[in-house]
Symmetry: C2
């Protein structure tokens, strides 16, 4: 039941061993393998299958909440403040150990400035007031009766990847570098349905959204976005929101910087101008090389990075590997991802996993035959608005870098890094972070 393959499919499509994504069609991989080192180890007969211990005894009991295997305990978030001292706490997603597109809820990144509030959903209320015909107070029971929508989307902290503003590549793994972005299926009430009910004054242009956590995070959001695709989220990957994600209700602004997706939302005030809150006036207004502030730039622009192989992994032998990564754009749908294995000299199109969704993670893959020589891997994504991930040269010219190498990857003031990430592989198969 096997079929012959077109031998031309074995042709490299870009330098240093990148193979055609058509090889991912059935039958192609065996051919790619046959041309060099096979993935498989042959000879089942030489190694009879032994009956292992776990096939002989009753296993552990199924519980009301499924538990993860102990063998994957390293698949966890890394923390910046594990003792919960009275300052910001970050938890980063281990993208190098995950695959697919969904981030499981317990591994979704989070940032909290005063810990996780324990909010009683029976008491929590959402008030909408200001420039409206009828202010309303919504209990969670009431909110649950509105129509709901479901969509997959990523949320990314504006400060994700800040280490890449260093003028020397910080030697850290994917989780440290890019762990402040995650992707989930969110379900909740379109904000437009509620705003229609209160009746917005035509002179209003913004809304001020406030959280019920102790930090009382408050951000100004243009009403245009609020009425476009904003959601009052109640469910995350099918179940009610995690406490650290804003239970019982958070604002979701698909594709806009994480901090604006106000958690524990308790108040929405309809107003006619932005309030210039702490986060708007300081954190999210870094200076550009031309001394202007990078202010009110809300969209997480098109971006991608390779997850496998990546920093900290090792290629043990030459031969076939799959290069796999994540692409996303806060401006739309991923249309194309290109990959290079020679540091940007030549590029080839990766296969993009469908269905591609607007403002959601998109997995890309491309087959690769490593010849055992040094290589530099990188990816570059394009969205359906024609936005292309900038090269590092282009990005640095416009946005600048810090002047000296910084060893703490968490201390950068810079925001919205969306240029390339490059992995250098040496002849031993070891992988480092490089700028290419």
């Amino acid at each position: 039941m096997t079929k012959k393959n077109d031998i031309t499919a074995l042709d490299e499509v870009a330098g240093n061993g990148l193979l055609s994504r058509r090889l991912l069609l059935r039958g192609g991989v065996a051919m790619a393998g046959a041309a060099s080192t096979l993935v498989a180890t042959h000879g089942a007969s030489a190694e009879p299958l032994k009956e292992p211990e776990w096939s002989r005894y009753q296993g552990t009991t199924v519980e009301a909440m499924g538990r993860r295997t102990k063998h994957e305990k390293d698949t966890a978030r890394i923390l910046t403040n594990p003792k919960g001292e009275p300052r910001t706490q970050h938890a980063r997603t281990p993208h190098h150990l995950l695959n697919g597109q969904i981030t499981p809820n317990h591994l979704h990144f989070t940032i909290l400035h005063n810990g996780i509030p324990d909010i009683d959903p029976e008491q929590h209320k959402l008030v909408i007031h200001g420039m409206v015909k009828q202010p309303i107070v919504l209990s969670m029971d009431r909110l649950m009766r509105y129509p709901m929508v479901t969509r997959q989307t990523f949320i990314e902290c504006g400060g994700n990847s800040a280490a890449l503003f260093s003028n020397e590549p910080v030697q850290a793994n994917l989780q440290s570098l890019h762990g402040l972005v995650s992707n989930a299926e969110w379900t909740g009430v379109p904000l437009s349905a509620v705003l229609d009910e209160v009746g917005i004054d035509p002179k209003a242009k913004w809304m001020l959204v406030e959280g019920a956590d102790t930090a009382a995070i408050t951000r100004s959001v243009p009403l245009k976005k609020a009425l476009d695709d904003a959601i009052l989220v109640l469910f995350q990957n099918g179940e009610r929101l995690m406490a650290e994600q804003g239970y019982p209700v958070r604002l979701l602004l698909p594709g806009w910087e994480g901090n604006m997706n106000i958690k524990y939302v308790r108040r929405i005030k309809i107003v006619d101008q932005p309030a210039l809150t702490y986060y708007e006036a300081r954190n999210y207004s870094p200076l550009l090389p031309d001394a202007k502030a990078y202010r009110f730039f809300f969209v997480n622009e098109v971006k991608s990075f390779i997850t496998h192989p990546s920093f900290g992994m090792k290629l043990n032998e030459p031969g076939y590997y799959e290069i796999s990564g994540i692409a996303y754009s806060g401006a739309g749908r991923i249309e194309r991802v290109q990959v290079t294995a020679d540091g940007g000299r030549t590029w080839a199109d990766a296969a993009v996993q469908g269905p591609t969704m607007h403002k959601a993670f998109t997995r890309f893959t491309i087959p690769w035959r490593w010849n055992g020589q040094p290589a530099v891997l990188s990816s570059r994504a394009v969205d359906d608005g024609g936005n292309i991930q900038p090269t590092r040269d282009e990005f640095v010219r416009e946005r600048g870098v810090t002047q000296k190498p910084v060893t703490n990857p968490f201390g950068f003031p810079n925001q919205h890094y969306n240029s390339l990430t490059s992995w250098g592989i040496n002849a031993k198969g070891e992988i480092s972070h490089v700028y290419a």
Copy 2:
């Protein structure tokens, strides 16, 4: 910034208050509300927002693994054998408490016959042998080097919904009735890529797949399915498989009955005929009214049920509600879902949440204005192959029912129920399970 609505959108589109799905477009809901009872409680000014306790103190500390809020502890699976006695253990998904399409990993249904094996991924091997050119033994490290694909798909136990074979409606909630189906994003190696490498004898037609758990679950699978869309799954919703879902590797046969999706797969033998294993010869061969066996019927046929409102919930007042549910088909993509509020006399099209994916959960919703009188809600799905969920009359005629009411919903020998589920609502807003 609100806009006028077409007043005709308020027209009922089917009996007993079903409203047009077009109302779910922006602006529609407020109109639907204005026409009867509003969802919102007005008067923010009459109830000043108080500062709650949780806004005043440092919250709890962010941990490496995110934790769920204690307020949702009822969102858990129900178990048939919580002490892990040496017999089958079932854990059912609480669909009535979830929303969206993804089932979180710790709430995915599972069935195990000898508990959960603790398998060391360093030692586990997968052997492929039989009618092949080159048998192979794959370590998990080797398997991870193959190309991977990601897809969302449901898995359903053939015995899900067995209580509906009773000739009287069993009074139990959605989780008890339909909790043996769940939906996840699975990532792994297409089985065809590995089978191509071993080289299948053209005379082979089936494969025998064996698990490494103590029950050594073994099923025969047609090679046609194996080469179509079967996957050796390594990741579930982004992270490595849950132990109870087959860690380190399970077979996924999208749309085919759960038991064939062999967990802990350790052996695939390529053969020329089915082996008639225990599960093939007994469990999945129930007798039909015409005394023939219902055998080798692998596909989970088109099906749907309403999750909100459903058994055990209560409507506290007349007015606007959203009817929401899940539809899926092991034969393809959900194309259409119809809902009735008058026990099947009249039907209206529900809105179907996109993107709809092949052999995956699809969420449907329709706005409804309950007038406080008795109503019977039900849903009926159609897939892109034109398969329609059968009415109860049609189903019973072909497949039969048990002759007396049964109070234990877990003891039925019958398989593959895919007819309608109906919820009866009385004038108090209480919901019971009815046959309509």
